[in-house]
């Protein structure tokens, strides 16, 4: 192990910033992070053991105790549930003789749930040792169980188990006309970099991750950073003082468009990053790739290599004096790292805890330097705008939302996949295209977004109406809204980073309070208490996770209050825990289970 870790650290330049990458290597080899490894890494990187332990305990894919040699994880997204996740997991558990959350006695296999793996159009999905498994069904599970029981190495498994389809159903503005390799950069240099930024400004492009910050303005703020004011003069540009980061931590349940963009349009995404680097004067870029997309890693590396060999990346790009390269860094299972400052912390080798703002990343980002963080789709759009001009883009969409938006459509529809629409398109026309019928409602923007009912389908996709980072989940009338809300609420409690009180405690309280109502233990004041708690979490949380964690409850409570009320008992008060259940230990110890050892919670219901 000593040699292995030493080599691993050296490959990563023995830099503390690469702690996650090093731990990924250890976890992948030993299926946990052994105590000896912690000691050695602490020494090699000259960091404290507590920093390593805190990182290990923060990310879902690191473990301090051994997992199976085959680490199986099943995606827990609501869409996986709708595709039969429960019965698939039960079957898997039975076939492999391992309980969910456990490691089998012989240490060969472990099974657990994981947050949405971004395969909602081809679930139920899972991961084996980090690699995506799709379309899980009984025959596939029989096959997987066999392969594991015969200890077949992963690279000998049949490739169809790992096949991930793009499912591009309706291409639009961007997807219909990808740019040729290098053409965005050529266009930008020919036009002038400042002029190209003007085109991006003219295009009205706003960030595609969901928040919708003006892209040109972000880039402008970054190069205007306080400690220097060099702009665009790439020939004389000095030290790598700025960074470009592509946020590919696509964790919002129901979203998978970045997976497809990186699989089939990676050149254009990298070109957009390089364009940004040229404009803001950065020499180093990062693609922060969510761990669930490990299957894309090798392919993306080869795209980078290809770009280097064709002069589109590396030193003196297109012989214009621009030096810029991109490194791919993998996450380790934490939704919060999609938040830009948490992502930067993670890139620096730390827990993904959102920073206090100000300062914003554009002035103090990666290693305290001005940094642009944009979504995959934003960089792709910027590359197209550099070629086609700002008016081309601004001619599509609405007043405040220019251009088109790429959606990941999944749930109850016969044609799940990737659809691209001009902003301003109505929800109804999207539903028509994907063939959805008997629709109860749609979750727009994932759990952190909005649940809309079937009375609102004339509403529009746009920042001024329904904003979305891409998630679009359709529910038909066979679905139970409270099940959906329950899944989302548990998701947020699981993914809260724990930094601030309202989110750390609040999301867990919310989970309990909702469970209480759904399980039929709620009484008169409980829906009011639920709503109060939601507002507290929303108003006081430190970052977007907490500020949106109550949205599933709030948006459905607003539309279907009777649904919540109908679960309440007709008594004035019930405690937050099961009184009779609390006596279970006492009954076990007393070896009694007669009626006298039970507490009647309600007056005999007649």
């Amino acid at each position: 192990m000593k040699q292995f870790i030493q080599d691993l650290a050296e490959t990563n330049g023995s830099q503390p910033t690469h702690l996650l990458q090093i731990l990924r290597g250890v976890q992948s080899r030993y299926h946990y992070i052994p105590e000896a490894a912690i000691e050695q890494i602490a020494e090699l990187l000259n960091i404290s053991r507590t920093q390593i332990i805190s990182v290990v305990e923060f990310y879902s894919f690191f473990h301090l105790t051994p997992r199976g040699q085959y680490e199986l994880l099943i995606s827990d997204s609501i869409t996986d549930h709708m595709l039969g996740k429960h019965s698939i997991t039960d079957y898997l558990s039975e076939k492999l003789n391992v309980a969910v959350g456990e490691v089998r006695h012989d240490g060969l296999v472990s099974l657990d749930n994981t947050s949405c793996t971004g395969m909602c159009d081809q679930g139920p999905a899972g991961l084996v040792n980090g690699y995506a498994l799709t379309r899980l069904d009984r025959p596939r599970i029989d096959q997987i169980a066999d392969l594991i029981n015969h200890q077949k190495p992963l690279d000998l498994w049949p490739s169809e188990l790992f096949q991930v389809a793009d499912n591009i159903i309706k291409p639009g503005l961007l997807l219909n006309q990808p740019v040729n390799h290098g053409s965005s950069l050529q266009a930008a240099f020919a036009r002038g970099l400042q002029e190209t930024l003007t085109e991006i400004d003219k295009s009205g492009l706003r960030g595609r991750g969901g928040a919708g910050y003006n892209t040109a303005w972000k880039w402008h703020l970054c190069y205007e950073g306080p400690e220097e004011n060099a702009f665009c003069d790439v020939a004389t540009h000095g030290q790598p003082q700025r960074y470009v980061i592509c946020n590919a931590d696509e964790g919002e349940p129901g979203t998978f468009k970045d997976r497809v963009l990186l699989n089939s349009f990676a050149h254009q995404v990298f070109e957009g990053m390089t364009l940004c680097a040229a404009i803001i004067g950065a020499q180093q870029g990062f693609l922060y790739l969510r761990a669930e997309y490990l299957h894309l890693y090798e392919k993306l590396q080869s795209v980078l290599a290809e770009r280097r060999s064709s002069g589109l990346l590396g030193d003196n790009i297109l012989e214009k004096g621009l030096n810029f390269d991109i490194e791919i860094c993998l996450g380790a299972g934490a939704y919060i790292c999609g938040e830009e400052s948490a992502l930067i912390e993670s890139l620096e080798g730390k827990m993904g805890i959102p920073r206090n703002r100000p300062p914003y990343p554009v002035t103090e980002g990666y290693l305290g330097k001005p940094t642009v963080v944009n979504n995959v789709e934003t960089f792709m759009a910027a590359a197209s705008i550099a070629v086609n001009g700002g008016d081309w883009f601004a001619g599509v969409g609405t007043e405040k939302s220019k251009g088109a938006k790429i959606l990941s459509i999944c749930g109850d529809c016969p044609r799940p996949g990737i659809y691209e629409y001009p902003f301003g398109t109505s929800i109804q026309s999207v539903l028509n295209d994907c063939g959805a019928s008997d629709v109860l409602g749609v979750q727009i923007g994932g759990p952190s977004g909005t649940f809309i009912s079937n009375k609102e389908f004339d509403r529009k996709l746009a920042f001024e109406d329904l904003a979305t980072g891409g998630s679009f989940i359709v529910f038909n009338s066979s679905r139970n809204i409270l099940d959906i809300v329950n899944n989302f609420t548990h998701f947020f409690a699981h993914e809260s980073c724990g930094f601030c009180t309202p989110c750390r405690v609040g999301t867990s309280l919310l989970k309990k309070q909702l469970d209480k109502i759904i399980d039929g233990h709620g009484s008169a004041g409980d829906v009011v208490a639920l709503e109060e708690l939601c507002k507290l979490i929303k108003n006081h949380s430190h970052c977007g996770l907490g500020q949106t964690a109550a949205n599933p409850v709030l948006t459905t409570l607003q539309r279907y209050p009777e649904l919540y009320q109908s679960r309440l008992k007709e008594i004035s008060y019930e405690p937050g825990f099961d009184l009779d259940g609390a006596l279970e230990t006492a009954r076990r110890m007393a070896k009694r289970n007669d009626s006298g050892a039970h507490l009647a919670q309600v007056e005999e219901e007649l």
């Binding site: 507590t50 934490a334 724990g498 999301t507 309280l509």
Partner: protein, 239 residues
């Protein structure tokens, strides 16, 4: 001509680089807080110092004071919310004030009284947490830790050591100790270290000193936390 912000309608002077908390404390205005301490880099996690700045909710301990800010601090709405945030801190741990030797000297308890917190409001979590009594002079009762990181910061920024860290995610967040055994006895912590004295609750205690000052004569027995806080922190902020 010094710059000013207003807090609850009163003009408060500030200097560039000051946070709202610093400007307020220097001017004798108390904003409730637990994770903030004037001698350390602000953390911004407890959210008790939540104020409304021109209608927007901000943490006073981290948000810079800027010309044109109209800050709301002592309002019923904010006090109600701060009380609930305090109740959250109580229910996630195990805080039994009557049997805690920090009672009367505890900032968590004092801020709860100040906010007129009369019950827990939320259901209790009753987490299973350990006590580390391994060190000769200092003990840790993890039941009372609120993850303010003051001990982490004090150890790093004042003592020149690195005894504590916060680990884990979400509701599983917990304090960890920088030694191979994970126990306090195997660290270089001294009872005289700042980190051993800075805990705002009863999570880190100096052994054999708990009842040297009798109950009834303790810091918050005759003074509210706003008064104590302004007296002790005023100079540090207003230098």
């Amino acid at each position: 001509m010094s710059k000013t912000i207003t807090i609850d309608g009163t003009n408060i002077p500030f200097e560039d680089g000051q946070t709202i908390m610093e400007a307020a404390t220097a001017a004798g205005v108390y904003i409730p807080h637990l994770c903030h301490h004037p001698e350390y880099i602000p953390h911004g996690s407890c959210k008790l110092c939540t104020v409304k700045v021109n209608g927007r909710i901000c943490s006073a301990c981290t948000f810079p004071a800027m010309e044109g800010q109209d800050v709301l601090n002592n309002t019923k709405e904010l006090t109600d919310d701060r009380r609930k945030i305090t109740q959250m801190l109580f229910v996630e741990g195990n805080h039994f004030c009557p049997s805690c030797e920090k009672t009367g000297n505890c900032q968590l308890q004092a801020v709860a009284y100040h906010l007129n917190m009369l019950d827990d409001h939320f259901p209790l979590f009753y987490p299973n947490r350990e006590v580390d009594a391994s060190h000769a002079d200092v003990m840790i009762d993890h039941n009372r830790c609120i993850f303010c990181t003051l001990c982490v910061r004090a150890s790093q920024q004042k003592d020149g050591k690195n005894v504590f860290a916060i680990s884990g995610r979400g509701i599983n967040r917990h304090l960890i100790i920088n030694s191979e055994s994970g126990l306090l006895k195997d660290t270089d912590l001294d009872a005289t270290d700042q980190a051993a004295h800075i805990c705002p609750t009863g999570a880190i205690l100096i052994k054999r000193t708990g009842y040297q000052v009798p109950i009834g004569e303790r810091i918050y027995d005759h003074q509210e936390i706003d008064q104590v806080s302004l007296e002790t922190e005023h100079l540090q902020h207003g230098e």
